[in-house]
């Protein structure tokens, strides 16, 4: 496995630590951090920052009975939370989003498949499966788009993205990602746009049809 060369910018990591990043992006960030030591270190530096703020904030006295109430709860059985660990190429946060199941692939034509992890009016996060040499379909994003490679690789005008690399594109980026020849490319794509895959036209044909 080659080293990860495309990382998450600091402002996005800070927003993730603080919890202000929308859910779909948070899945992509948590997945990348699971694979990337450098971004984990950056995230932990932001947590240190949060801790320093917590330490130096103005304290407000808590109710008198709170401590006793809490201590009485320590022995109560906790309902076990499921812990999702990495499964094959899928990092823990993806496995969690899949609720421990395998991806439910749906064909989009031309050998391209997708498995939607979650979607709402604020955006979506999904897995994409692109055969080698094939263009990644247009995700139809209005703003920020995050694409994390889990298997294979893709390339576009900005560079090559291998396993663990994350491409963070804003709406200004006109790019045509194409899966590199070889293994199919599987990636996690998070966008802030509702799904627009109904009439899929491969990107390569788009200039011809001016869609």
């Amino acid at each position: 496995m080659t080293a990860i060369t495309h990382h998450i910018p600091d402002d996005i990591l800070a927003a993730y630590a603080a919890g202000s990043l929308p859910h779909h992006y948070a899945v992509a960030v948590a997945s990348h951090v699971s694979l990337c030591t450098q971004c984990r270190a950056s995230l932990e530096a932001h947590q240190t920052m949060g801790g320093a703020l917590l330490e130096t904030t103005e304290a407000v006295a808590v109710s008198g009975n709170m401590k006793a109430d809490l201590l009485a709860q320590l022995d109560a059985p906790a309902k076990p939370e499921p812990v999702y660990s990495r499964r094959g190429i899928y990092p823990g946060p993806v496995v969690a989003a899949l609720k421990g199941q395998g991806p439910a692939w749906k064909s989009l034509g031309m050998g391209v498949r997708q498995s939607i992890l979650s979607q709402d009016k604020h955006g979506s996060v999904r897995l994409l499966y692109i055969p080698g040499g094939q263009a990644v379909p247009d995700h139809g994003h209005n703003g920020l788009e995050m694409t994390l490679v889990l298997q294979g690789s893709f390339s576009d005008e900005t560079g090559r993205f291998g396993v663990g690399d994350i491409e963070i594109a804003n709406e200004d980026l006109e790019h045509t990602p194409i899966a590199d020849p070889g293994d199919p490319c599987i990636c996690l794509a998070a966008t802030d746009a509702p799904l627009r895959f109904n009439a899929l036209v491969p990107r390569l044909l788009q200039p011809l049809f001016r869609i």
């Binding site: 402002d11 030591t37 270190a41 995230l43 947590q47 240190t48 703020l53 917590l54 904030t57 809490l70």
Partner: protein, 186 residues
């Protein structure tokens, strides 16, 4: 004042006692220190006092239950509790489960490395000092960012304003953390 600079901080010692021995007295002392700070911190997001206390209760219970995940070689107690507080706050308010990275577990039976623990604490101490040198409105802005009150776009637009010293601190800390994390992975 700083007579114990070469010793591991009280909070870290308490948290290790909770982690390794389920020490209730140590947990009570951590509660005394952190609960009022957590309450103040959470109320700055506009939470009412009772709502903030409900979250504090939940956070401290999570600290007790997840104590085995605490690793003083990588995180200060306050940093670890900060992230738990943000996660629980969001889970409770938004009623959704926050995506979190895979946990990195310490090697079972690994001997604690006091110099590494101290290095983490010193780095955090420098951060705290940098924070205290900020003007109130600068601190306010940073606090807003780390309390989830700013969008990532707003955070990005703020960079260069009050973040100068702090960003270089984070970068320094980063080198060390990166080294430590590599050690864990190998």
């Amino acid at each position: 004042m700083s007579h114990n600079k070469s010793e591991i901080s009280e909070q870290t010692v308490l948290m290790i006692a909770v982690r390794d021995n389920q020490d209730r007295e140590a947990f009570g002392a951590l509660f005394d220190h952190f609960a009022p700070r957590l309450k103040g911190f959470i109320m700055r997001t506009g939470c009412s006092a009772p709502q903030a206390e409900e979250i504090v209760q939940d956070v401290m219970l999570t600290v007790w239950r997840k104590a085995s995940m605490f690793d003083p070689h990588r995180a200060q107690v306050s940093a670890w509790i900060y992230q738990i507080a943000r996660n629980r706050h969001i889970d409770i308010v938004r009623k959704e489960s926050r995506p979190v990275p895979e946990e990195l577990a310490e090697d079972p039976g690994a001997e604690p490395d006091a110099s590494q623990i101290l290095a983490v604490e010193q780095e955090a101490g420098k951060l705290k000092a940098a924070l205290s040198s900020l003007r109130p409105e600068q601190r306010d802005m940073i606090e807003k960012a780390y309390l989830g009150e700013l969008t990532h776009q707003e955070i990005s637009d703020q960079t260069g304003l009050p973040l100068g010293t702090i960003k270089s601190r984070i970068r320094l800390g980063l080198e060390r953390l990166r080294h430590e994390l590599k050690g864990l992975r190998e």
